[in-house]
């Protein structure tokens, strides 16, 4: 493990953390403001990826593809919110889980019906392909750096949105007392649709960005969704800051664990046993991290509510 490789992996961890942040931010906002747990968030991620792949395939433009991803997932989010989610705000969590699980089934099978079971491919645009030379002579893929930059930009924008705008004030007020802001004349249903669509758009963006690194296929969203849950448990529900910190922690732990554990075991075990033990434990590491945080802070690092 050379220092260069280590830095590369750290950057990978940050990049993976950034995409997780995009997923988790939407989820935690929706939960914080509307008190709703949404399992179909992974489907919105997938819709963004498919929209991007379809548009990129048709037009060849990555920029258009990203915009399509944002638009498609935000629109899907808005539609789903008005048709299904709206009926769930007053229901208990079990109903919310089941209904949004049902949505996963519908979206996954629907996408498979439309696009087939084979993965689609989304190409990294030429402008962002190839390596960039960082200080220290390290070469790192330009595209991944772009993802980190986009993630940071989104985090900063969300922070400004929440703290400086009218919408942000409503979001924060809504997190604290839903009935009160409704009584004060804020159009709750529109606020909810906007928040839900915003979260959906972020998920779709994440899906499109990752789609260029891995493939675009049905079912790609759920593993990321569950990781986003881990992020939220660690970071605390309703907190954007918690989502960022949690996402970076999870991203780093996952990436570095997979890279550092096998050689670590290699120090006192023989080759293949070390490799398999190392990678098996690495797969469990983030959950161990989550369990650890839970023992010490059951509401997450920045959380207050459940």
């Amino acid at each position: 493990m050379t220092p260069i490789l280590l830095v590369e992996q750290i950057l990978n961890g940050i990049q993976s953390g950034m995409t997780l942040f995009l997923m988790a931010a939407g989820l935690t906002l929706v939960f914080g403001v509307m008190g709703l747990i949404n399992l179909a968030h992974g489907s919105l991620y997938m819709i963004g990826a498919f929209a991007a792949a379809a548009v990129a395939g048709a037009t060849g433009s990555f920029a258009l593809a990203l915009m399509a991803a944002l638009a498609a997932s935000a629109a899907a989010g808005a539609v789903v919110e008005r048709v299904v989610i709206r009926r769930l705000y007053d229901r208990d969590h079990l109903d919310q889980v089941l209904a949004t699980f049902a949505l996963i089934l519908v979206f996954s099978e629907g996408t498979r019906w439309l696009f087939g079971s084979f993965p689609l491919y989304l190409d990294i645009p030429d402008a962002l392909s190839g390596p960039v030379t960082l200080p220290g002579g390290i070469e790192y893929p330009r595209y991944r750096l772009a993802i980190i930059a986009i993630g940071a930009a989104v985090a900063a924008s969300l922070g400004l949105l929440i703290t400086r705008t009218r919408l942000g004030v409503r979001i924060r007020a809504g997190e604290n007392d839903r009935e009160m802001i409704a009584a004060l004349g804020v159009d709750i249903s529109r606020l909810y649709t906007v928040v839900f669509a915003l979260g959906a758009g972020l998920a779709g963006l994440a899906g499109a960005l990752v789609g260029a690194i891995r493939s675009v296929q049905v079912g790609m969203g759920e593993p990321v969704l569950i990781l986003a849950f881990v992020v939220i448990v660690i970071g605390g529900i309703g907190s954007i800051r918690g989502a960022l910190v949690g996402a970076l922690l999870v991203g780093m732990t996952d990436t570095l664990g997979g890279v550092l554990l096998p050689p670590f075991f290699g120090l006192f075990m023989e080759g293949s046993a070390a490799a398999s033990l190392g990678s098996s434990l690495a797969s469990m590491l983030i959950y161990v991290l989550m369990a650890g945080v839970l023992v010490v802070r059951p509401s997450g690092l920045y959380g207050g509510r459940a």
Binding site: L98, L105, I226, M284, Y287, M290, A306
Partner: protein
């Protein structure tokens, strides 16, 4: 005799009648379908204790299903390969005896449930759901990456395990085993629900404060329920692996967790025979709709959505009305 008891008897008889008919009509495939339904129902019976009575929305029960399945897989694969599980400090051989396998499966699943429950039950609400989901994933990824037992490809057991006095390869006899276990579990659950434990657990679902103020520690109550629920689902997992003679990480997947929850809900959450009705319906849908379209999950999703939004009581709720006191 209440309406619900009549419905329960009808369901039990239906699940028995179909394979018996298939036996006389020489349709072994139908017997296998019924066995599948019985085993999935058993998995649901386990979840129903935690979810229906306890109000614990565990979206990671596949963890226990998989632990039971892998208990069977590990024991049987060592037996069929004539390689002991371990040789130091004492020799532990594999086994192909079902009773032993079931015991190991139930114990391991129970331990897993105690561990996961002890951590998860310190939280509530949405956190609990997310954490149980996450722990299920943990088992899934571990099973994929641990190479000794097949990893992603899974593990095949060539010959079905044995039960003293029976020919377990005969579909109707294996069905009888699964059915008997299901009925035993339902009987036990019925007693549990009416006992002080069930009363307190059910009341805690409705008002934690009320039960705590009455002097009953709710954490311990729920942890016990969660562990028992894991034990039952684990037994179902061992049976399922035996039915298919195959165990793979899919048994740990979130989709499996979701499916188990779906049968419980479709059948009627909290109702004793809910999982039986739900599993039977699920098998019928899988078989019939699956034959028509490979995208039948869309229909499953639509039905589930409908039930959740408009028909909360599920099948048993629709047939038997409100639950009895």
């Amino acid at each position: 005799m209440t309406r619900e008891t009549l419905v329960n008897i009808a369901l039990a008889l239906l699940l028995l009648a179909v394979p018996l008919w298939a036996y006389t009509a020489d349709e072994p495939f139908i017997i296998t379908l019924a066995t599948r339904a019985a085993i999935l129902a058993l998995a649901g019976v386990g979840l129903n204790l935690a979810l229906g009575t306890g109000g614990l929305v565990s979206f990671g029960h596949a963890a226990f299903f998989g632990v039971g399945g892998y208990a069977m897989g590990i024991l049987a694969s060592h037996a069929q390969g004539y390689v002991p599980l371990m040789e130091w400090p004492f020799t532990v051989e594999g086994t192909k005896s079902m009773p032993v396998i079931w015991l190991v499966a139930m114990l391991s699943a129970g331990l897993a449930a105690l561990g996961i429950g002890a951590l998860s039950l310190r939280t509530s609400g949405v956190y609990f759901i997310m954490i149980t989901l996450a722990f299920g994933q943990m088992f899934y990824y571990f099973a994929i990456s641990w190479p000794a037992y097949g990893g992603e490809d899974g593990l095949s057991i060539y010959v079905r395990n044995g039960f003293p006095g029976l020919n377990t390869l005969d579909p109707i006899q294996f069905f009888a085993l699964a059915y008997a276990l299901l009925m035993l579990a339902l009987f036990a659950m019925g007693r549990l629900a009416r006992a002080p434990f069930g009363l307190a657990l059910n009341a805690a679902r409705q008002s934690t404060e009320r039960v705590e103020t009455g002097g009953i520690g709710v954490y311990r109550l729920r942890l016990t329920a969660f562990a028992v629920s894991g034990v039952v689902t684990g037994l179902a997992g061992a049976l399922f692996a035996d039915l298919n003679r195959f165990v793979s990480p899919t048994m740990f997947s979130w989709q499996t967790s979701g499916e188990i929850m779906v049968f419980v809900i479709l059948g009627g959450v909290g109702r004793l025979f809910g999982p039986v009705a739900g599993a039977m319906l699920f098998i019928v849908l899988e078989h019939m709709l699956g034959g028509v379209s490979e995208f039948w999950h869309i229909w499953l999703g639509a039905i589930l959505l409908f039930v959740v939004l408009f028909a909360r009581g599920g099948i048993v709720g629709a047939l038997a009305g409100r639950a009895d006191g």
